[in-house]
Symmetry: C2
Subunit: 328 residues, 2 copies
């Protein structure tokens, strides 16, 4: 592999002159510039990023720390983050935490400042003390603990509220919620939105209709739904805190021969592609994932470039109404 030295020898100039050409420094004689460019072409020179970054004190990477790539929301988001990062000539390094405290801690520990310039985090279990980050970071979504780190995400309370309002507007009275979680910040906010929507419609908040989910996988949604269907008076609608839970819930309903939407309306959250093609298709709160990815990356880029300070970004969302909720 050709190095600057090789190119310099070939062009008959010093290493630094080649470096100057490569980096677009203005004052290079046209004649030399041409010779250097020819030599660059001839050798197929590509800068050694490791060396460059060693010198510049940059790495050219950002970390994306998320629970699991097999969760569609994170997979879609990761794809968008990679695309957004590319525009700033950043490569993305993905770390999976599997939503555990240990996983998140070890992912953060691996994040030396030598490895990445910045990090995008989607934590679920971290404690306040853990947020001693060695690099600029952005949190995606809300987190239970209050730490001085920029956040990017939607207004979860309003989003959840709009979902439940939609169910109420269709005439549902007994609306369940699946996905309550003791430590997850977003879960608390979505629950709050659920509560507010019920309150403004003067509907009672019924404890037995709020079902926790420790993980947000399809299996958890199915299990929660089964427990709801076992109630003396099952719900006539359910708001799930993500689409996977909703898919699982719809599956459990189908197994019990409960029909969606006529017997049970279902709303999800995340608007996974999968939800457009399920039968029935799933009404879902749709965060603008592209906007989230872009905002997070841009914010970090500004931070790294010009040292800007704490800043939160609220991205838009919408409610995608599909077959799983219709007027009865």
């Amino acid at each position: 592999m050709a190095t600057l030295k090789d190119v310099a020898r070939l062009a008959g100039v010093s290493v630094k002159t080649v470096s100057n050409v490569v980096n677009g420094y203005s004052f290079v004689k046209p004649d030399n510039r041409r010779r250097v460019e020819e030599a660059l072409e001839a050798t197929g020179y590509r800068p050694n990023l490791g060396a460059r970054n060693l010198r510049r004190g940059r790495t050219g990477f950002i970390a994306l720390v998320l629970p699991e790539l097999s969760i569609p929301y994170f997979a879609e988001l990761a794809g968008l983050v990679i695309a957004a990062a590319q525009e700033h000539e950043w490569n993305v390094l993905i770390e999976q935490t599997f939503g555990t405290l240990a996983g998140e801690r070890s992912a953060l520990a691996a994040l030396g400042p030598h490895l990445v310039d910045a990090a995008i985090l989607s934590p679920e279990a971290l404690q306040v003390d853990d947020f001693q980050l060695p690099v600029p970071a952005v949190l995606l979504g809300e987190h239970a603990v209050d730490v001085p780190i920029s956040r990017v995400g939607i207004d979860n309370v309003a989003a959840a509220q709009s979902a439940v309002r939609h169910l109420i507007s269709l005439g549902h009275q007994r609306i369940a919620a699946i996905g309550a979680h003791p430590h997850r910040g977003t879960a608390a906010l979505r629950l709050e939105g659920y509560r507010l929507a019920l309150a403004e419609a003067s509907l009672p908040f019924v404890d037995e209709l709020v079902v926790p989910a420790l993980n947000y996988h399809r299996a958890d949604g199915a299990a929660a739904m089964r427990s709801l269907l076992d109630l003396r008076t099952p719900p006539d609608a359910v708001f799930c805190f993500n689409d996977l839970l909703a898919i699982g819930a719809m599956r459990a309903a189908a197994e019990r021969l409960v029909r969606v939407p006529s017997d049970l309306a279902v709303v999800g959250f995340d608007n996974n592609e999968e939800s457009v093609y399920s039968s029935p298709s799933l009404t879902s709160v749709a965060p603008d994932k592209a906007a989230i990815a872009r905002a997070a990356v841009d914010l970090l880029h500004r931070r790294v470039e010009s040292g800007e300070s704490l800043e939160n970004v609220e991205t838009p969302f919408s409610l995608q109404v599909r077959e799983s909720t219709v007027a009865r």
Copy 2:
């Protein structure tokens, strides 16, 4: 951030001695070792990977080049590759090509030997000439062109054959195939498996029952299914070359009030998690994704460590029978 120099000063030894301790060199006096370890602890030293790799001529990264993270198969695979790579202290860098020739070319071009030690590729459009790779690589799945690069994957012909045999064993006679593709190697092999299964059952190969799909997204499956349902004599079963196509096909069937599996049996390929929870759940060919990820990473590691040569690995698969295919 502490460097070797800082640690050395604190411990009162030379930089190299610290380096020796960090790298587990045997001959260090217990007393010095202890002092160095204390100093390491005190400073919270973390090696600068850039510098280390510059010196060692390694980068500590491998690239995973795939079409799109929003495709569940690749998302799941990526998660497994990341996990497997971690065991060899490799970080994974994901590049998306979106299945286009231009995308694949630019991803390969970005793969300087300075950036990654090796690459795992899942190409769909590349030509023979493109395979001038600057680093050791492994191809996932089959590819139309024959290049001297290691491959890891299942026996696609046998896998497809087993899927179609299953449909035949259930009594289906008019079996369609969705996913034919002019350039995709795996498509050709799966089609071949389909053809073989028909032949061994003395069923005719009917051109109109083989529908191409340019992309393997849900929408393509739905479109293909609609065209099949428009046939004078629609099929009574369909083998889709991946699960997304199958999900789309089932969706299209549902819209036409064609019932799965009683009117139409459906088999997919990839065994996405999504397919376990769809209604009906989807029978699917299940490649052992973890085995693929592990085999690819291990193979590359051996290549990089000991310069082993060309080697192909065939990983196991199974057929997961679910609700979308049952005896009628």
